[in-house]
């Protein structure tokens, strides 16, 4: 029943292309004045497509194990899709977030303009992400990884300011650089692995590999750094704080919560499904990886702490949070992986919430700097409450969700045989948790408790429209509730970890 896999990939892409082309033609024909008038057909089309494909995606991922081979790109290199536990997990998260942000985006984009183009790309990227998550071998993954870069770039430069374009190009080149490093790895692994298809536990051919360990390890390291670019890992992280803030809030929300996870997924696939964890366990690769991720964690939170612009601050926090996940993967223990996978989910919801809040602040009263937000809680308390819940979750205060994942990460670090790095890792995690508190909570504090009177606050509007508030609340709720009753998810993640180690 491959159709259910293909549908969520094909449908959004087709619809998105249709939207793009139609908007393009409209530009060709009509004058600037006519362009201002948005057409009503857009919203139903987009939502319908999204809902249908999301439904299909869920169906595909939660009804048993399926796979489909489209065609052969080259000899024994097929373009094929396959559903397994990891794919299902990622697909679910992505779909939920995408749907909610889709709702949120309509009112928001109405004052950004060029909605048709935006939603066109929005749909295309969704399709590409589905392809990425379902992809059944390394080449397919690489294909959709590249496509993801190319198609998500226009979302970054949406508002077309000079800065945005520069940021977009930066994003493009960093990702390309990463992709090509990964490609190098693929070239090498194609020789030393039995197959590039994903096999739990990896498929490295020990006979061939005999004596070529060095080049293989170099290849793996290259792939880690390469895919790490998307995940904002050192040393190639600099694009992230530049690119995410300039995008429109919904875009930066998905970029920062979902797109970065593309890198994570790729790394999971490479390490646990192609090479196999045992190959790199205890080698310099693992240590380098650990060190890099820990450095990123710490540096990210430090920079976030010093950052006055709200969205930029959130972007830096993304840098550090995603490296939590990478750290969890790098310790190569069941607990670590569990923690990592959990953190994938939680961070997706949390970071999305935070960015959407930032978006609302900008949308309602055009405030983008932290110090301008003093007393904001007085006029839009609901929004700020959602923000606060999310913040608590991110910091990892029980019972909020972040706590669970971090707990497992720490545990993973304990029972791995990586000596000092394990301890150091835990210390760094705690430190950066403190920093996280340091850069997130002040907004809540200043927002609610200010000595200014209500009338001397110069916020022109109050709470945002329901269409924007609702997704926010849902996400915040998810961020909390998953922390309160996490058992189901933990089992799921632990099961995955068990199968792939």
């Amino acid at each position: 029943m491959g159709i259910w896999i293909l549908l969520p990939i094909i449908l959004p892409i087709v619809t998105g292309m249709y939207l793009l082309i139609s908007s393009f033609l409209k530009h060709l024909k009509s004058t600037e004045s006519e362009l201002k008038t948005a057409d009503g057909s857009l919203k139903p089309v987009v939502l319908l497509t999204l809902i249908v494909s999301v439904a299909a995606a869920f169906y595909a991922s939660w009804t048993g194990d399926k796979s489909i081979t489209l065609f052969y790109l080259m000899k024994d290199i097929p373009i094929c899709f396959k559903v397994d536990a990891v794919a299902a997990l990622f697909v679910t998260v992505v779909s939920i977030v995408w749907l909610l942000v889709g709702f949120y985006a309509f009112p928001y984009m109405s004052h950004e303009g060029e909605e048709k183009r935006y939603f066109g790309f929005y749909l295309v990227v969704y399709g590409v992400l589905m392809g990425l998550n379902f992809s059944g071998n390394l080449v397919t993954l690489y294909l959709f990884y590249e496509l993801m870069t190319v198609t998500s770039m226009p979302m970054v430069l949406h508002n077309g300011s000079r800065e945005a374009i520069m940021a977009a190009l930066k994003y493009l080149f960093y990702s390309m650089c990463g992709a090509y490093m990964a490609l190098f790895g693929i070239f090498v692994l194609n020789k030393y692995c039995d197959t590039l298809a994903f096999v739990a536990g990896g498929s490295l051919n020990t006979v061939l590999a005999q004596g070529n360990e060095t080049i293989i390890l170099i290849a793996v390291m290259a792939m880690l750094i390469g895919f790490g670019v998307k995940a904002g890992m050192l040393p190639l992280h600099a694009w992230l704080p530049a690119a995410h803030p300039v995008a429109p809030a919904p875009a930066s929300a998905v970029l920062s919560s979902i797109i970065v996870k593309g890198g994570v997924l790729a790394i999971v696939r490479v390490v646990y499904y192609v090479v196999g964890a045992d190959v790199i366990r205890g080698t310099w690769v693992q240590y380098a990886w650990l060190i890099l991720s820990l450095l990123t964690v710490f540096m990210g939170s430090m920079l976030a702490y010093r950052e006055p612009v709200f969205k930029k601050r959130l972007a830096y926090s993304t840098v550090s949070q995603v490296s939590y996940i990478l750290f969890g993967l790098a310790v190569l223990t069941p607990a670590g992986i569990t923690g990592a996978l959990l953190h994938v989910v939680f961070h997706a919801f949390i970071k999305c919430t935070l960015f959407l809040t930032a978006g609302i602040f900008i949308f309602q009263c055009g405030k983008s700097r932290v110090d301008e937000l003093e007393g904001i809680g007085k006029c839009m308390p609901k929004t700020l409450w959602c923000y606060t819940f999310a913040a608590l979750a991110l910091i990892g205060i029980p019972p909020a969700s972040g706590f669970i994942s971090k707990w497992y990460l720490a545990q993973g670090a304990f029972d791995s045989q990586i000596g000092i790095l394990g301890w150091g890792g835990i210390v760094v995690l705690l430190l950066s948790a403190l920093l996280t508190a340091g850069y997130l909570l002040p907004i809540t504090m200043k927002g609610f408790f200010t000595e200014k009177k209500t009338e001397e606050l110069e916020f022109e509007k109050g709470e945002p429209p329901m269409a924007m508030l609702m997704p926010l609340m849902i996400l915040a709720f998810l961020a909390m509730i998953l922390g309160v009753l996490p058992s189901g998810m933990i089992d799921y993640a632990a099961q995955i970890a068990a199968t792939i180690l």
Binding site: Y72, L73, M74, G160
Partner: protein, 489 residues
């Protein structure tokens, strides 16, 4: 009997081309029909020839008893001839529209048609002497095409071009002497060297090989002889597109393949200092070309620099000296042809419609020339090696070949390939981004004159893009064909 067809396809364009300036054409249309007719007829003949391949070779005459002119069609020749035969009519079609705003086009088309014949001659040549002769002729007949505009810089460019070509030819010639003395001149897969004859002076022989390779490599703009190619960008775009992205420069690549696989033989060369030395040169060229391309702001010159580096991809495949390497080289030879011609045609279309040459002048063109710039972007992505397009296939094959040969240098080569791919992104993407996203508040009234050119230019573009995607998604048959060639068909 059917060996004669080889002579026919070579002579037809030459003989039909020479009288063009004196033929009494009433108007452009007649000229156009004549030239297109000749070209298509030749291409058809070529395809017929490829379908029932003449097995025996055809001796024309002898210079001296060592130096014989003979035609023989083998797999490699078939690939090259096929490529040329497909691309030429497209280019002619394009150039009719393009050459409208150039002067004395009869002369142009005369040489353009002759070049076709001579390129086929290179493809069909059955031994190194014949190849050399046609090689020299090619440099000669393309000279007027470069200096066609007769501006000061065109003259200068054509001079530079010819000096490089003569130098390269002289070098190759000296290498050829070695071949003629140490074994047959004919092309046989695996080489014709008689090492017993060579005896102890193997190093001398290797020097000869290096001379030969570098000499023919000049046409493929191998460093340090690469600067003529961007200079030659002053020529009318059909020339830059077809000749300096495909016909002429790939003749050089073709010749190096001949020399390496069919004359000196890989098992003699593999692992010698010659291979390493050349490989270093080539790898350097790969990176050098791209980085110059990034620095260049003149669109055509930028593309020319990218050609420099991409040609060295082919040479890299050649110098790996494995069948897989040859496969990679051949695939990149074909695929790069499609991509680069498409890019050049787009650049040419811009020049033709607006006379704009520089990258920073292209803001917002994407909306005005959608067809052109969509094709530009797509072929650019292909050049960057996006999977699903043909650029990825050839990169993949090259890299696989390199991994298999597994020496340190070959891994360095892979890295160079990827670096240059990144640089490709660096010099292609900004153009597309400028064109499609000119930035906030860009008023399109400034470029209201800009619009898509007519079908004669657009059709070749679209066809080429289709080719790019087709080979990107369904490359197996052609790759198998190349493998057959590489295995000595």
């Amino acid at each position: 009997m059917n060996a004669i067809i080889m002579l026919v396809v070579v002579l037809l364009p030459i003989l039909a081309g020479i009288p063009i300036p004196v033929l009494p054409f009433k108007n452009r249309k007649q000229l156009m029909c004549y030239v297109e007719g000749v070209t298509i007829l030749t291409s058809v003949l070529v395809l017929v020839m490829l379908l029932n391949r003449p097995t025996d070779s055809l001796v024309l005459f002898q210079f001296t008893e060592e130096m014989i002119l003979e035609f023989h069609l083998d797999g490699l020749g078939m690939v090259f001839a096929g490529m040329v035969a497909v691309l030429w009519p497209l280019a002619i079609l394009y150039s009719f529209e393009y050459m409208k705003h150039e002067k004395h086009e009869e002369v142009f088309f005369m040489f353009y048609t002759i070049t076709y014949g001579i390129t086929l001659g290179v493809a069909l040549s059955g031994d190194i002497v014949t190849m050399y002769v046609f090689f020299e002729m090619l440099s000669l007949v393309t000279l007027p095409l470069i200096m066609h505009t007769l501006t000061r810089e065109a003259i200068h460019a054509s001079r530079t071009y010819f000096y490089y070509m003569i130098g390269g030819a002289a070098c190759a010639f000296m290498g050829m002497i070695f071949v003629l003395n140490y074994g047959g001149s004919a092309f046989v897969m695996g080489g014709t060297l008689d090492l017993a004859k060579a005896g102890e002076n193997v190093n001398l022989l290797l020097v000869g090989y290096v001379m030969c390779f570098c000499g023919f490599g000049v046409k493929t703009a191998m460093w340090p002889c690469s600067s003529w190619l961007p200079k030659a960008g002053v020529a009318p775009t059909p020339v830059t597109a077809l000749l300096h992205a495909v016909a002429v420069v790939k003749t050089g690549a073709f010749a190096t393949m001949r020399v390496t696989y069919y004359t000196f033989g890989t098992e003699f060369l593999k692992g010698t200092w010659a291979q390493e030395f050349l490989m270093i040169l080539i790898i350097f060229t790969i990176v050098y070309g791209c980085s110059r391309g990034v620095k260049e702001t003149h669109l055509k010159r930028r593309l020319a620099w990218s050609t420099v580096s991409n040609l060295s991809y082919i040479l890299f495949g050649v110098i790996l000296m494995t069948p897989a390497g040859l496969v990679g080289a051949l695939s990149h030879m074909i695929f790069h042809a499609a991509m680069k011609i498409c890019l050049f045609f787009c650049a040419g279309a811009v020049i033709y419609k607006t006379g704009r040459n520089y990258v920073y002048e292209l803001d917002g063109f994407g909306r005005k020339m959608p067809c052109v710039f969509t094709c530009f972007t797509l072929s650019g992505l292909a050049l960057m090696g996006l999977p699903g397009m043909c650029g990825f296939i050839s990169k993949w094959n090259l890299a696989q070949a390199a991994v298999e040969s597994g020496t340190v240098l070959s891994y360095v080569g892979i890295v160079a390939l990827l670096i240059s791919a990144l640089l490709t992104a660096l010099y292609i993407m900004p153009v597309s981004v400028r064109a499609f996203f000119p930035g906030k508040g860009f008023d399109y009234e400034k470029i209201s004159d800009v619009e898509d050119p007519n079908w004669m230019i657009c059709v070749p573009l679209v066809l080429l893009v289709i080719v790019i995607f087709y080979f990107g998604l369904h490359s197996q048959p052609i790759i198998d064909a190349f493998a057959a060639v590489a295995s000595g068909m």
